[in-house]
């Protein structure tokens, strides 16, 4: 009897997980399948699969649209933003955790206060600053306005707090300066947090739509989300060619999927290794 109850429990568990997974994966699956359909088939809900895969949709997006250029620009901008956010976030988090200075708690409160501010509230001051620096309608402006991530500071601070202070002190006694200690001692011990943050920061920069739309209006400065919208949807060259929109969207997701594939093992890793310290 107990065995049967256990089995039913397992089956139910799998059923629930399968259902949730199906709900989560369906939009993605639908996008990829629609990318292989004709324009008429996309609107026809009677069949999920295309009658014959339209690979030409992808060829058309790659060779006849500016989307690959947008993807390249977005990748470049995102990589620079990630590098800057990781560097600034790590330095601020290190100072907040390992350095003793007056107003340290106040700094943390200010940082957290900023985190609670709605993003939209920062648009106008950021816009004015960029305009004064003549950085409107430039990718540099997009990068500079994303130099610091409050979420990153918070995430790294929490991770750094798990590093025994004695290790940092030992590195200081070994002759290490703060930068060296940060990159050679603290960073390797909190690698998973760095990778998690890097990935989240990359996705957010890569997918960002609202802010780049506000500060860039030249199509040559578009990032991928803006480009997709303006070229394929907003009465662009293709009108609303849904099959092409789906093919474009599928292509856009590829860099993110590759990134996930390389970094997924780090998400499940906590802080690694044995310091011999109790924390």
């Amino acid at each position: 009897m107990k065995k049967i109850t256990q089995k039913i429990g397992t089956v139910l568990k799998f059923a629930v997980l399968l259902l949730v997974s199906a709900f989560t994966a369906f939009p993605f699956l639908w996008m990829v399948l629609s990318a292989l359909k004709t324009k008429a088939e996309v609107m026809d809900v009677s069949s999920l699969l295309p009658s014959s895969p339209q690979w030409s949709n992808f060829i058309s997006v790659i060779f006849d649209s500016p989307l690959p250029g947008y993807i390249w620009d977005s990748l470049l901008v995102s990589v620079i933003i990630v590098a800057l956010q990781v560097a600034t976030g790590a330095m601020i988090a290190y100072a907040m955790v390992f350095l003793e200075f007056k107003g340290r708690n106040l700094l943390f409160i200010v940082v957290m206060g900023t985190y609670m501010l709605p993003v939209a509230a920062t648009y106008i001051p950021a816009y004015i600053i960029l305009s004064q620096w003549n950085l409107l309608n430039t990718l540099t402006g997009v990068v500079i306005s994303s130099t610091v991530s409050i979420f990153g500071i918070f995430l790294l601070r929490q991770a750094f707090m798990q590093v025994p202070k004695g290790l940092v002190e030992a590195a200081r006694m070994d002759g290490g300066g703060h930068f060296r200690i940060l990159w050679e001692v603290v960073c390797p011990m909190t690698k998973s947090s760095f990778i998690t943050f890097g990935l989240m920061s990359f996705i957010s920069a890569y997918n960002n739509y609202m802010w780049p739309s506000l500060i860039t209006n030249d199509s040559s400065k578009y990032l991928v989300s803006q480009g997709l919208r303006s070229f394929f949807i907003e009465g662009g060259a293709y009108g609303t060619e849904w099959a092409l929109v789906m093919a474009g969207s599928s292509l856009i997701v590829i860099p993110l999927l590759i990134l996930f594939a390389f970094t997924q093992k780090w998400f499940i890793n906590g802080i690694g290794g044995d310091t011999g310290m109790k924390g």
């Binding site: 004695g166 006694m173 070994d174 002759g175 300066g177 690694g272 290794g273 011999g276 310290m277």
Partner: protein, 369 residues
């Protein structure tokens, strides 16, 4: 050569708490100095101030005559072994030991040579390519020491380095540290709350309590001539017994009255008391457990009587805890194991006056040294 001077050093925290008060000490080259005292006495804080990990609120720290108060920890040429080893978990033993040399831009071959040399001394050659997580407690401890010795620093600081090891390993490592000290021929400053470590390793011991230095002396002198009741009670296992008494001057001689009994003091003790106004003073008389002998309750020599509360047989010796008659205060006796006792046995006890220490009941200071 490294001479360390702490001049009237204070450590005061923002909330006003004084962890170290007026710490004044000169450490000569090649000394093995021990800071010992109960938890919270300021010994680790003082060590960390020397290391540069803690700011000095007031006073001066000089190393080889140079003021170090504002010098960064990394620039003091001091190595430190931490209580919890503080090994870098992502680096192999080889890299852990060689890390400081890498920071100081030494050549690769030189780092390799020095790391191998340190590993040889500490018996770590076999585990050089392992990560800290693959080491035993003793090996981790050795790696932490290797990291310190590879630099050949002016001073070694050790903050309770053996406290995480089991009793057997602690004994072994204590011997290794003593050997290392003789091999390296440099200054060691060692923090511990374990008086066995303090007594066996140190050339001089600094006893601290509540941030204040109580006495600085050689292990032997600390044991024989404690300057106050705290030191007398802290050094020695089991701790010294204290009996209430008062100083009397009768029949032309200074003596001590303990309850009903009165005895004349030895010439040496009287000589030390001569310049002090002691007659009639209430005192605590300290007697070490090994100087108390048991006798029959009605024996002539008995200073007092009591009942056995606990009898601990330790093999070659036994510790007996007595409840004294009248006061019911505890008295500890260390004795041989020829005769065994049971709780409830009535015994008498005696001690000779040449082995006692007399402390002012109010100030706790000795009046017989």
């Amino acid at each position: 050569m490294s001479n360390i001077v702490l001049k009237h050093v204070y450590k005061r925290y923002e909330n006003g708490f004084e962890a170290v008060k007026d710490f004044d000490l000169e450490i000569e080259d090649n000394e093995f100095i021990i800071f010992v005292g109960p938890s919270g006495c300021g010994k680790s804080t003082t060590l960390r101030m020397i290391a540069g990990l803690e700011e000095i609120t007031e006073g001066e720290l000089l190393i080889d005559g140079v003021r170090m108060n504002e010098v960064e920890a990394s620039d003091r040429d001091i190595a430190m072994v931490f209580q919890n080893y503080a090994l870098y978990p992502h680096m192999s033993v080889r890299k852990n030991i060689g890390y400081s040399l890498k920071i100081h831009h030494e050549k690769k071959e030189e780092i390799e040579r020095k790391v191998n040399e340190a590993a040889e001394i500490l018996g770590l050659t076999e585990v050089l390519d392992r990560k800290p997580s693959q080491l035993s407690g003793g090996q981790k401890q050795r790696v932490a020491m290797g990291r310190a010795i590879v630099r050949k620093p002016k001073v070694f600081l050790m903050d309770e380095p053996l406290s995480n090891l089991d009793a057997k390993l602690r004994g072994q490592m204590r011997v290794e540290i003593a050997r290392l000290y003789h091999q390296l021929n440099t200054t060691f400053i060692y923090v511990t709350h374990d008086q066995t470590e303090a007594m066996t390793l140190g050339t001089r011991i600094v006893v601290m309590k509540d941030g204040v230095v109580q006495q600085v002396d050689t292990p032997e002198r600390l044991f024989r001539y404690p300057e106050n009741q705290f030191v007398a009670g802290f050094i020695g296992t089991p701790p010294m017994n204290f009996l209430s008494g008062n100083v009397v001057f009768e029949d032309g001689a200074l003596g001590i009255r303990l309850g009903e009994k009165k005895a004349a003091l030895t010439v040496e003790k009287v000589r030390n008391m001569q310049n002090k106004d002691v007659v009639g003073k209430d005192v605590d008389v300290g007697v070490r457990p090994e100087h108390v002998r048991l006798c029959a309750p009605d024996a002539e020599e008995a200073c007092g009587t009591g009942t056995v509360d606990v009898y601990e047989m330790l093999g070659s010796e036994a510790i007996i805890y007595l409840n004294q008659d009248g006061t019911n205060e505890k008295l500890i006796v260390k004795t041989g194991t020829e005769q065994s006792f049971r709780p409830g046995d009535r015994v008498g006890y005696a001690f000779s006056l040449e082995n006692i220490h007399v402390f002012d009941k109010v100030t706790g200071e000795t009046i017989t040294n």
